[in-house]
Amino acid sequence: MNYLFSHLDRVAQLGGAHLLLVAVALVLATAIALPLGVVAARSNRIQTPLLGVLGAIYTIPSLALLAVLVTWIGLGFATVLIALVAYGQFVLVRNIAAGIRAVPPAAVDAARGLGFSSQQRLRQIELPLALPAILGGLRIAAVSMIAIATLAAYVGAGGLGTLIFEGLAFHQPQRILAGSVCAMLLAVVIDALFRLAEKRATRYRVAA
């Protein structure tokens, strides 16, 4: 752990870049997954093939996907961003669709019968009730993106992976350790924050 403490500034900087990359990817991924999840929840005919395709993307080894993207787009931030967004889709779309499908049918019938338009029903009833499931999806997506984003350094997009690749190149296990431990810590903290948000979003279920 010597490297970590002697180069705290640099490690913090790389950690910040790592976090930024994941945050941008998560926002973009959610923006794409939200409409897809809503459509999937409404129709089995769409959900089954859609989750099939997204699931297939999810199983591509991340290094292979990055290598392919590099030949198309070249090195850099955008390449990693696309890979992270693509990986996030499966978990996000699946959880959004599952959350909407789990809304009590009576609440949906009441909303329709009372005169909510389908947009109002989605925004005021279905998405709020699906929120815990959606946050669960965000949590899993964020944690896996933090791990995958260590490969960003491989295509020149920086982040904590930089330390790991330097360590490999210069035979300095200290750097590998510093990069890995920080990425793990980041994942643990983000996981805890999302769990907290999930808990807050379900308070009405146990309200005293």
């Binding site: 009590p104 049918p105 009576a106 609440a107 949906v108 019938d109 009441a110 909303a111 329709r112 019968g113 009372l114 005169g115 909510f116 338009s117 109002q120 009833i125 709020p128 009730l129 009405y204 279920r205 146990v206 309200a207 005293a208």
Partner: protein, 232 residues
């Protein structure tokens, strides 16, 4: 169906009561025939606007679990764009009307309500925006007999005080006789007998209708009770 009446659709499960009820607010669109409200064909009205002018209460209640009691009751006034103050006043008024103390119940979540309390909130939500028609699909089907009787009493009182037309679905014959001033007996998607409870019991006109109200002795007892319930 005349305005201001309390009509009850009664018949066994699967006879089309709920389907008929749901044609009134276009949750079900009939393949043939027309549904008119104040002599306007509902098919010519925008469904969400139509539904906001009609109260809707169902057996499963369908309170929105993430909203407090007051927000549940306020949904239709909010959809109609009432002001915050109007809504706050109306919510308290409605909770009092269904016999729930506003200060105790306003901020509770549906999770914290008993079956009977939830159903009262469901009724308050249905009548919040003073609908001209109130649709109720077995609203008291899931509560125990004692609570059901008191809910029925309150509903009769509320319906009279609001002068709202009520269309009520039940498979419970006694509930139907108790609430209806107009009884509609259904079988396999068709209306087989229609009239006041006393008229239907006195002259069922049809073996199926007669049997629905029990053997001769039970029917006589029910007729006696129905006559007694008539306003003197």
């Amino acid at each position: 169906m005349p305005a201001g009446s309390f009509a009850v659709l009664v018949g066994p499960s699967g006879c089309g009561k709920s389907t008929l009820l749901r044609t009134a607010n276009r949750l079900v669109v009939p393949t043939t025939g027309r549904v008119t409200l104040d002599s306007v064909d509902v098919a010519s009205l925008e469904p969400t606007q139509l539904r906001r002018s009609i109260g809707y209460a169902i057996q499963a209640v369908g309170l929105f679990p993430h909203m407090t009691v007051s927000r549940n009751v306020a949904v239709v006034p909010e959809l109609l764009g009432w002001t915050r103050d109007e809504i706050a006043v109306r919510v308290d008024e409605l909770l009092a009307l269904v016999d729930l103390d506003p200060t105790r119940y306003r901020d509770r979540y549906p999770r914290e309500l008993s079956g009977g309390e939830a159903q009262r909130v469901g009724v308050a939500r249905a009548i919040a925006a003073r609908p001209r028609l109130l649709l109720m699909d077995e609203p008291f089907g899931a509560v125990d007999a004692i609570v059901r009787t008191s809910l029925q009493d309150e509903l009769l009182r509320i319906a009279r005080s609001l002068a709202t037309t009520v269309l009520f679905v039940t498979h419970d014959v006694d509930e139907a006789l108790r609430l209806a001033d107009r009884l509609v007996v259904m079988r396999e998607g068709r209306i087989v007998r229609e009239g006041t409870p006393v008229a239907v019991l006195e002259d069922p006109q049809d073996g199926y209708v007669r049997d629905l109200f029990g053997d001769d002795e039970t029917r006589a007892f029910r007729l006696q009770r129905a006559r007694r319930a008539l306003p003197a």
